[in-house]
Amino acid sequence: MRLDHRSRRLLPRLFLALLLALLALSAWQWRAGPPLQASMLALLPQGASDELVQQAERRMQEPLNRELLVLVGHAEREQAIVLVQRIARQWAEAERFEQLQWSLQADLDALRQQVRSSRLSLLPHADRQLLITQPDGFIQQRAAQLFDTFASVSLLPIDQDWLGLGARAQQALNPHPRIQTDLGSGALLVEDQGLTWALLRARIRGDSFDLQAAPAVASQVASTRALVSAEGGQLLAASGLLYAAAGQARASQEVAWIGGIATLGILLLLLLSYRRARVLVSLLPIGVALLAGCAACVLVFGQINALTLVLGASLIGVAADYPQHYLSKSWSRLHGQAHWHSWSALAATLPGLSLSLGTNLIGYLALAFTPFPALTQIAVFSAAGLIAAYLCAVCLLPAWLGGLQLRPAPGLLRFSENLLSLRARLLASIGNRKLLGLLLLFCAAGLLQLQTQNDVRQWLGAEPQLLDEAQRIAELTGQQPTSQFFLVRASDEQQLLQRQAALSERLERAVADGQLLGYRALSQLVAPADSQHALRQALQGLPQHWQPLLAAGIPEAALHAELALLLNSAQPRLEQALAGPLGEAWRPLWLGRGDAGVAGLVSLQGLNDTSVLHSVGAGLDGVQLVDRLGELNSLFSATQLSAAQLKLMSIAAILLLLCLPFGLGGALRIVCLPLLAALTALACLGWLGQPLTLFSLFGLLLITAIGVDYAILMRENIGGPAVSLLGTLLAALTSWLSFGLLLLSQTPVIANFGLAISLGLLFCCLLAPWAGTQRSAQNQTVEA
């Protein structure tokens, strides 16, 4: 291919115009701060397609993303209260929180009102059973309560609650029995092992997508922690925001140092190889690629996720490869060929370069069709980045490298020649077939040891301190929300309450068996009407049993009046009960009315055994267990399979593309080598005892795309096999510098990805010489 003078002038200008447009687009996208998304979990697929399930998941997820639970502990009870008050005041000034609650400032009148009007339907199951089956015992307990000096303060005065139903209902409404209210300050306290912990609950303003929120909250927690320790206290904090902040900080740190080291390494490599400073302009495609990748992601998805950015930073390695295609040809001068000239070197390597782009694009884009937003985003990022890098390498760089006389290090070429002769000797002594047989044996044995593992917790990375604190808070407060919950659907409100009550009965058994700590159902707030029937009957029979109350001096008329009031009171509506002050904790559970009827949730606390949930919900109409974690983990596995299938399809496409220049035989050889390399890397994972995750699979799929690149370089054989191998080695080294460093990431998924890609690159390099034709290999042996 030839490039005439006109196109040599035109191409750089065209590209610069494009680059300006890209810069303008990026500037516009970043006008209101970085369009970054912190939550890695946002990259997880929306599992169920059912809108109601998604709504329920969002509802249950919301407190995780917006709420912060803080415990301030001190040996002195008063000091803990003083500290929590001070913190609440300080935080209120920061105006970051729309709600800060450290004390119970309940409006008791409103509470009294609601307890009085709904005490029958608030009555806990056990109390209801007691009243129905042992009315005598029920009355005796009430009589004892009346004379108990130390009985709890009842919300309702005795003369409004002779039978004590309100007092019982009120006891059951205390959702967290470990948390006590300090009567003086109203502070919410937990006492444990000589320490008093004061509780502070905060909810941030705005939505959780605000990128500034998580780090700001984390730093606020950190400075508050310092303040509390200075006062001799302790602070515990738990929030999804803190995980997000930690993930964000880690991601940006890793982008900075992995990207930095990779760039520095590539820079050194270029300088040492070509010994000309100007060659460093070949780093430009990296910057252009990252810019284009970001812009494309923001354009398509509205924002770019931190995880995409970390994995995308590894694209540096591939973007730096393109200039290598023609730069490495400068070594052929050492074989007595003509001087290296940028445009003519480009012209000679352009077909191979374009094929590389084509195969890389096919490889990446295949991933875009998985139902996994993470992979889709990375695919879009990479595809856009690769195209930009290619255009930069093809249109602009030759102009900027024009007239440059490269002085490639001759030692490197000798090294490459030595490698080739070593290979030739090895082949001569063992033979191709035997070698292949040995390799396949190694692979088979490795694959047998391979384990797949897909756990969403790998995404979160290790934050032992955050986990410990959350664990401690759960122990102290008895609040251990689980990610699993039940979605209950029904045609109307009464049916919903009935269904939740039926589910509650089974959950009650799980609680009694110690498999579950607790649960919250709408039927606790409003008992279904049919269950009230037996209760009302029992109430009607109560006058036969209430002698002990009469003996205590309570006038019979008062008891009859209360009974009549109870029996005639209307059953409160669910929405009415939710709107009252008692309903607060239940409000998130009500999903409201839709076309198909009504829906509500049952949330769970302190789950010890997930498997028990499946049997609990089984066979109940309208009851569905929503287990996002379990669902995601199985979705990971399913995605793994579909990603592999897509990859096979993309390989078929690459094969077709390569058939054009190389014919079927050559194309097959070029495609099979990277596949073999990926297989060997997979086997190595098995040998190393490392699991195959969705991300290591993704890495290996990427390897097949990059490996094709190297095979093409070898196959094209411009400048001889030694020069081609050297080009391949340099390209692989630049790739490894960026991908392989991910191995050191603290996020398990990313490290796993780095490991898979490092192994894959190694084998791609080792196998690449087999892509060359037999004839040129013989030539090489002669020359050496």
Binding site: E76, S103, Q105, P157, I158, D159
Partner: protein, 200 residues
């Protein structure tokens, strides 16, 4: 004792220097904390707006400076309670059963214990204290400070001489509880049975 001292300090600050020469909270506290053991009968009357007669119960109590309070209800029904720093427990055929929850009831009984012991602990933090009279006949009035407490009690009045004689608790909703301790006796030790019950 820590909270006690703090209570005294706050009490003094509240009453101001002008009252320093008169009978003050410090002297009251010291006076009530002196006996190792106090025991005697109690009569509790719950005055309910809706009832012409109060709900009356009677029994015996033993207050130990070291171990807390043993509260034995004799009529109209039998029930023993034990109140210590660890909360309330009830005697059942199976032994002492801690009352569930560290809720309002537990704090109320702690408050109660503080009143009987002259321990101003939670008192000064949670209430305005007003003391009048002298060592032989004094009156202490407690008015709740917090909105939460105000919604439950409007005032607590305590009267006594060498020992606490009368506690009246007025609930915001109009009911009140009167507790009389008419014939309390000072002793220097617990009986064996009392010791077993209070400090097993």
């Amino acid at each position: 004792m820590r909270r006690f001292l703090r209570g005294i300090a706050v009490g003094i600050a509240l009453l101001g220097a002008s009252l320093a020469q008169a009978f003050d909270l410090e002297q009251l506290g010291a006076q009530l904390a002196k006996p190792a053991v106090v025991r005697g009968p109690f009569i509790q009357e719950k005055h309910l707006r809706a009832l012409p007669q109060p709900l009356t119960s009677r029994g015996q109590f033993v207050l130990s400076r070291a171990h807390g309070l043993l509260w034995q209800l004799h009529s109209p029904l039998q029930q023993d309670y034990r109140i210590g720093d660890r909360g309330i427990a009830r005697r059942t055929p199976q032994g002492w059963q801690p009352q569930p929850g560290q809720d309002v009831a537990a704090q109320q009984s702690r408050l109660f214990l503080a009143v009987l012991r002259g321990d101003h602990a939670g008192l000064a933090d949670d209430f305005e204290l007003q003391l009048s009279g002298d060592a032989e006949a004094w009156q202490l009035s407690l008015t709740p400070r917090s909105r939460l407490l105000q919604q439950i009690f409007s005032a607590i009045h305590i009267q006594g001489g060498a020992l606490v004689e009368r506690i009246e608790l007025t609930e915001t909703q109009g009911d009140s509880t009167l507790l009389r301790l008419p014939q309390s006796q000072v002793d220097d030790r617990l009986s064996e049975a009392e010791r077993l019950a209070l400090a097993p």
